[in-house]
């Protein structure tokens, strides 16, 4: 188990390298920040893993960081995909609606099966479950749009959503189902979490391994020739 825990960290370093190579920090700065934070958090946890109190503090502080970044990244993904589709005002309401729904579900779950931690840690756990709900809802919603609107699935925001969506789906499933296993739950949860997160990071590496064609702004294109313009004018006249 100890060796297995390092696999996601190694994969995250590879992912960070791929993100730098593809200059993703310009297109998806929050996701780039998330990946950099994840590498930093793993390093910090490793550095203090022999000191019980420090590890406890580092673990929960980084978990809170993951919660906040999880929400920010999903906002970035949704904004990038939907912002390019339409300028309709109601689109801006989708994210707050999904966030409130996720918070509501998470709080309701905590009422039914309260987490075994108290104080600030309770809120961090609630935040974590909220982020999982949010990730699944955004991922599943975006994937539904692929066949409905004919969107291209192999684009960076969909890659980010797929990685998070897979991880969050499995983690929600384990949280709901594996709790039936009683004392064995903790070990199973740990294994599942590490393996699924590794798969999620592999998905990100796969998506970002292919360069995404950036279209040149129209100002960078040469002006159409007078012949082209005349042809275009004639075509428009015939079309109307």
């Amino acid at each position: 188990m100890k060796m297995l825990e390092f696999i996601p960290s190694c994969l995250l370093v590879v992912l960070l390298g791929v993100l730098v190579r593809r200059r993703v920090y310009a297109a998806l700065p929050c996701f780039f920040g998330y990946a950099a934070f994840a590498v930093g958090a793993d390093l910090a946890r490793f550095a203090v893993h022999n000191y019980r109190h420090s590890y406890f503090l580092t673990y929960w502080i980084t978990e809170a960081g993951y919660d906040i970044l999880g929400v920010v990244v999903m906002h970035e993904v949704l904004h990038t995909v939907l912002g390019g589709l339409t300028r309709a005002r109601w689109v801006r309401l989708i994210f707050p609606f999904l966030l409130i729904t996720s918070i509501g579900l998470s709080v309701a779950r905590a009422q039914a099966t309260p987490p075994k931690v108290g104080g600030l840690l309770f809120y961090i756990v609630i935040g974590e479950i909220t982020v999982r709900f949010l990730q699944v809802l955004i991922f599943a919603g975006l994937v539904t749009l692929v066949p409905v609107l004919g969107l291209r699935w192999r684009q960076y925001p969909f890659g980010v959503a797929t990685g998070f969506g897979l991880y969050a789906t499995v983690m929600l499933l384990t949280t709901v189902k594996f709790s039936d296993f009683g004392t064995r739950f903790k070990l199973l949860w740990g294994w599942t979490s590490v393996v699924t997160y590794s798969v999620a990071v592999l998905i990100w590496i796969w998506f970002f391994s292919v360069p995404q064609k950036a279209l040149a702004p129209s100002s960078e294109l040469s002006a159409p020739s007078p012949g082209d313009l005349k042809q275009y004018k004639d075509a428009l006249r015939r079309m109307r």
């Binding site: 309709a88 579900l105 039914a112 004919g150 294109l221 159409p224 042809q231």
Partner: protein
């Protein structure tokens, strides 16, 4: 109990989405070579003047004024079915154009790629409008129209998208993208779109 059901529904939706993405990755779907021969014969003509008349509030008011309530309900259902067919055609045409633009965006020619991107953006917007307007129309048709009292002219915009204006913009984007076509092929395109 409700929370558990919601959680399971969300987990199942997430799992199905994972399977769909896996299928996309496995089959590289929907990547296929689409050229202009895969566009023109596949388009369904959309009569925009008919759509304009169906969405005209004055025409609707005239119907309401002239016909008895029962006759008006019948006429309104017919008009709704007709507009539903037009939105279906709009959605179909934009789907064809999205696929074409997707392939065209891979072009090394930056101008062609940019025109394809503009065409795709407009086509997706039309699909979004057709989807929202279609849902509204189906609900109106499913429930008795005397309960909801549907006003067809309200369907000019759905989800803040002006349907006819967006479809005109799609036609303009298609004009720019297909401007190099021979005149006879271009005329078939303008007839079919």
């Amino acid at each position: 109990m409700v929370v558990i059901i919601f959680t399971w529904v969300i987990v199942a939706w997430g799992a199905l989405s994972c399977i769909y993405m896996l299928r996309c990755a496995w089959s590289r779907f929907p990547k296929r070579d689409v050229d202009v021969d895969d566009v023109i014969p596949f388009l369904y003509p959309v009569d925009l003047s008919l759509a304009e008349s169906l969405l005209d509030p004055a025409a609707e008011f005239e119907f309401r004024w002239k016909l008895s309530p029962r006759q008006f309900r019948e006429a309104q259902r017919k008009r709704m079915r007709l507009y539903l067919e037009l939105t279906r055609r709009m959605a179909h045409n934009s789907r064809v154009l999205v696929e074409y633009a997707d392939a065209e965006k891979q072009s090394a020619d930056l101008r062609r790629a940019n025109l394809a991107s503009a065409l795709q953006d407009k086509a997706i917007e039309v699909r979004l409008y057709a989807l929202l307007a279609g849902i509204k129309l189906r609900i109106w048709l499913l429930l008795r129209s005397d309960i909801l009292k549907p006003v067809l002219s309200q369907l000019r915009t759905a989800g803040d998208i002006d349907g006819l204006e967006t479809y005109h913009a799609l036609k303009t984007a298609a004009t720019a993208a297909f401007v190099q076509l021979p005149p006879d092929e271009f005329d078939s395109l303008s007839r079919n779109l």
